[in-house]
C-alpha cells in the first residue's frame, strides 16, 4: 500500500509518523486537562465526592466575589508595574553592558545568576530582608541610622511592590541576555554610517537601535507579561503565613486559584478562575502582538 503512494503522500506519512509522539503527548498532557478544566468550571466538586453540574454558578459566584475583583486588580498591577520596569532596567543594563569590555563575562554572569536561582530560596531570603527589627536587614539598617521602620510586607500598600521587586530582579538576567543578543544582531555598518554622518548618540539610540530591536522588545514584553500575570512562587513564599496577605493586598489570580482548589477544595470555583485567567492571558498576548507588530 505504501508503495502505491506518491512521493508527496509519502512525505506526509513520514511527517505524521514523526509528529505522532508530540501530538499524543500534547493531547494527553495539555489539551485533555484544558478541556477538563473548562468542564469542571461548570461543576461542583470537592475533589473527594461526585461532580455535580451547576451551570454558570461558579462564574456568578466569581462575579459577585469582592476578593476576586481585588485579586484581578492586583494581577494587573503586577503586570503594569512589572513589565515596563523590568523592560527599562534590563535594556539599560544590556545597552551599557554591551559597550563594556572590562570583565564583561563576569558581570553578565552576575546579572544572570538570580535567574538561575530557585525562586523559592530567593523569596525566603527577601522575606527575611523585609522583616521588622530585630531580624530584618533593611529595617535594621534604617533603625541603626535612626530612621523609623518601614512595614514592607505587613502593609496593604507596600506589600505588593515589595513582593514584586525580587520577582523583577530574578527575571532581569534572562531579559538582559535576550537584549544583548538583539543588540549584537544589529549590523555594525549602520552604526558606522551614523558615525560618519556625525549623528549624536541619542539619535543613534532612537533611530537605529530601538527600531531594530523591535522584534526583541516584542518577545520580551509578551514573555514577561505572561510571567507577571502568572506570578505565584514569589508571592506565596513571601507570605506563607497568610498567603496573598495582608488582607489580599498581594494576592494574584494564580494564588487565588491555588487556594480555592487546594485549601478550600472547591475545584469548580478554581476551574472557573482558571478559565478567566486563560482568557486574560490570551487577550493580553494577542493585543500585545498586534500593537507591537503593526506599523
Amino acid at each position: 500500500m505504501y508503495r502505491n503512494l506518491s512521493i508527496r503522500q509519502k512525505q506526509i506519512v513520514w511527517a505524521w509518523a514523526f509528529l505522532v509522539v508530540p501530538v499524543i503527548f500534547y493531547s494527553v498532557i495539555r489539551f485533555y486537562p484544558t478541556g477538563n478544566a473548562i468542564l469542571i468550571s461548570f461543576q461542583d466538586w470537592n475533589l473527594l465526592g461526585k461532580r455535580t453540574w451547576t451551570g454558570l454558578d461558579n462564574y456568578i459566584k466569581l462575579w459577585n466575589d469582592p476578593v476576586f475583583w481585588k485579586v484581578f486588580k492586583n494581577t494587573f498591577v503586577y503586570l503594569l508595574l512589572g513589565t515596563p520596569v523590568s523592560l527599562v532596567i534590563s535594556f539599560l543594563i544590556a545597552y551599557h553592558l554591551d559597550k563594556l569590555r572590562f570583565m564583561h563575562g563576569f558581570l553578565r554572569m552576575l546579572y544572570f545568576l538570580p535567574f538561575m536561582t530557585s525562586a523559592v530560596a530567593m523569596a525566603w531570603v527577601w522575606r527575611w530582608f523585609y522583616q521588622p527589627v530585630p531580624i530584618g536587614l533593611f529595617n535594621n539598617i534604617l533603625a541603626s541610622v535612626g530612621i523609623p521602620q518601614i512595614s514592607f510586607l505587613n502593609s496593604t500598600t507596600n506589600a505588593l511592590p515589595a513582593v514584586l521587586a525580587p520577582a523583577i530582579w530574578a527575571g532581569l538576567g534572562f531579559q538582559i541576555i535576550i537584549f544583548m543578543a538583539g543588540l549584537r544582531a544589529i549590523p555594525r555598518s549602520y552604526y558606522e554610517a551614523a558615525h560618519i554622518d556625525g549623528v549624536s548618540t541619542w539619535t543613534v539610540l532612537w533611530e537605529i537601535t530601538l527600531p531594530l530591536l523591535k522584534p526583541t522588545i516584542v518577545f520580551i514584553v509578551v514573555f514577561s507579561s505572561i510571567g507577571f500575570l502568572r506570578i505565584f512562587d514569589h508571592v506565596f513564599n513571601m507570605t506563607t503565613n497568610n498567603p496573598g496577605g495582608p488582607l489580599n493586598a498581594t494576592k494574584p489570580l494564580v494564588l487565588m486559584i491555588y487556594e480555592s482548589a487546594f485549601t478550600n477544595f472547591d475545584m469548580g470555583y478554581a476551574a472557573a478562575q482558571t478559565v478567566v485567567l486563560f482568557l486574560i492571558l490570551l487577550v493580553v498576548s494577542l493585543l500585545q502582538l498586534r500593537i507591537l507588530r503593526d506599523s
Binding site: 470537592n46 465526592g49 521588622p132 530585630p134 497568610n242 496577605g245 488582607l247
Partner: protein, 419 residues
C-alpha cells in the same frame, strides 16, 4: 566451572528464588499513609516495627507526603484502587471522607462503640456515626503556655502567670524595646496564623463569658460583648499594652525558639521541636484563667481509618493494625516521641503523665478542652487573621472588624453545611 556444577547452580538459584517468591506471597502487605512531620514518622516507624514483630505475616509500608499535597494524593489514589489501606486524616475531614466513600466503618466486634465511648476522651465521640466508629485517634493535642525560663529569671519573674491579668503584667516585664521604641523582644508572641486563633475562639471568648458557636458549630455566635472583649484583649496586647507585635520575627514559634519571646501559646506538638534546641530552658504552664476563673482549652486530633480499598486479608490486616495503633502501648510511644497526648484517660491520666512537668499542663487542659468543628479550617483561620489585620494595619475599630469577621465566617459555614 564444570557443566554439572553450572547446572546445579542454576537449579539452586531457581529454587531459592521460587522459595522467596512463595514466602512473600504469604505475607500480607498493607500500606499506611500520613503527612510528613519528622516526629510522627519516627513514632510510626517504631509502631510498625513493634507491630511487625508481633505479626510476622503482615508487612506495613508507610508513605508520607508533604502536608500541602496530602489530601489531594489521598483523594486521587483511593478511587483508583491505589494508595493506603490505613490512612491518617484530620478529625475535621471525616465528613468529606465518609461522604466520598473513601473510608469504611471499623468492625463493631473489635471496636464496640460502647467500649470506645468509655475508653477514649469524650471529644473522640465526634468520630461515631451509624452505630459504629469510622476512625480513631492515637493521640490528641491541646494548648498550653510555653515560657522561657531564662528570660523570666532575667526579668525577675517568679513563675508563669495564672490569670489573664497576670499574663499582661508578666508580659510587660519581659518586653524589651530599643532606643527608637522598636520592640526587640516580645513579652508574648502573637499571630492568628499560629495557634492563637484557637486560643481566641475556644478560650478567650469563653473566658469573657461568651459561647463562640451555636448549633453544633453551624452558627457563629461571637459577635457579641464577650467576643468584643476577647478581641479587644487580644489586639490590646499589641496596641494598648505594647507587649507584642504581630508578625514579630516572621513567625511566633520562631521568635520563641530564638529566645526573643518570653511567652508563647502553642500546641503539644511543638514540644518535640523545642526539645531539640540546645541551650534553651523553657517551661510549660496551663493556659491562664479568665477574669472569673474560667479555664478553657482547644483540642484537636488526627485519626486513623481503614480505607475502602482494603478488602479480604488486607482488610483483616488493616483492622489488626488499627487495633494496635490505638492501643495503650502505641499511645505511650506517641506521647514520648511526638509529644502528642494519649487519646485515652487510662494512659493520659496516669500519675506519671498527668504530673509530668511538660506533658502535665497539656493533659490537665484536656479535661476542660473544646474541639471546634471546622468546615474549612484554613478559611476560618483566614477570617481571624484578617480581623486582626484590619485593626493592626488599617486601624479599623475592634467592633467593626469583629462584625465583618463574624459575617465572613458565617458565610463559610453556611456554604459548607447548606449543601
Amino acid at each position: 566451572m564444570g557443566k554439572t556444577s553450572l547446572k546445579g547452580w542454576i537449579l539452586a538459584t531457581a529454587t531459592s528464588t521460587a522459595a522467596l517468591l512463595a514466602g512473600s506471597a504469604n505475607a500480607v502487605e498493607i500500606e499506611y499513609w500520613q503527612y510528613f512531620y519528622d516526629a510522627r514518622v519516627e513514632a510510626m516507624d517504631t509502631l510498625i516495627e513493634n507491630f511487625q514483630a508481633a505479626n510476622p505475616d503482615i508487612t506495613v509500608t508507610m508513605t508520607t507526603f508533604p502536608y500541602a499535597d496530602y489530601r489531594t494524593k489521598v483523594a486521587a489514589a483511593i478511587p483508583a484502587g491505589e494508595g493506603p489501606d490505613v490512612v491518617q486524616l484530620f478529625y475535621g475531614w471525616l465528613n468529606d471522607y465518609v461522604e466520598a466513600k473513601l473510608i469504611q466503618p471499623l468492625p463493631t466486634d473489635m471496636f464496640p462503640p460502647e467500649q470506645v465511648d468509655a475508653d477514649f476522651f469524650p471529644m473522640v465521640q465526634a468520630m461515631k456515626g451509624d452505630g459504629a466508629y469510622w476512625a480513631l485517634p492515637t493521640a490528641v493535642r491541646s494548648l498550653a503556655l510555653f515560657y522561657n525560663e531564662r528570660l523570666f529569671e532575667e526579668a525577675g519573674v517568679d513563675g508563669p502567670p495564672a490569670t489573664l491579668d497576670e499574663l499582661v503584667e508578666t508580659a510587660k516585664k519581659l518586653t524589651k524595646v530599643d532606643g527608637a521604641g522598636n520592640i526587640t523582644q516580645v513579652g508574648i508572641t502573637a499571630g492568628m496564623n499560629a495557634q492563637d486563633h484557637h486560643w481566641w475562639r475556644e478560650v478567650l471568648v469563653r473566658q469573657f463569658g461568651g459561647d463562640p458557636y451555636l448549633d453544633d458549630y453551624h452558627t457563629v455566635n461571637y459577635n457579641d460583648e464577650a467576643g468584643l472583649k476577647a478581641l479587644d484583649f487580644y489586639t490590646g496586647l499589641a496596641t494598648e499594652h505594647k507587649v507584642t507585635s504581630f508578625g514579630f520575627m516572621d513567625e511566633p514559634q520562631a521568635a520563641f525558639k530564638a529566645g526573643r519571646a518570653g511567652m508563647h501559646i502553642d500546641g503539644s506538638f511543638r514540644i518535640g521541636s523545642l526539645k531539640s534546641i540546645r541551650g534553651m530552658k523553657w517551661g510549660v504552664a496551663e493556659l491562664p484563667a479568665g477574669p472569673d476563673g474560667t479555664q478553657s482549652n482547644y483540642s484537636s486530633y488526627w485519626v486513623n481509618a481503614v480505607t475502602t480499598k482494603a478488602e479480604g486479608e488486607k482488610y483483616d490486616a488493616a483492622v489488626k493494625f488499627m487495633d494496635y495503633i490505638t492501643s495503650d502501648e502505641a499511645m505511650q510511644v506517641w506521647l514520648e516521641v511526638v509529644g502528642e497526648l494519649p487519646a485515652k484517660p487510662s494512659v493520659g491520666m496516669t500519675e506519671a503523665n498527668a504530673n509530668d512537668p511538660i506533658f502535665g499542663p497539656f493533659i490537665r487542659g484536656l479535661a476542660y478542652a473544646h474541639t471546634t468543628k471546622f468546615a474549612n479550617e484554613s478559611g476560618q483561620r483566614q477570617v481571624m487573621m484578617e480581623a486582626v489585620e484590619r485593626i493592626d494595619i488599617e486601624g479599623q475599630s475592634v467592633a467593626d472588624s469583629l462584625k465583618t469577621a463574624a459575617e465572613a465566617e458565617q458565610k463559610i459555614l453556611t456554604d459548607y453545611y447548606g449543601k
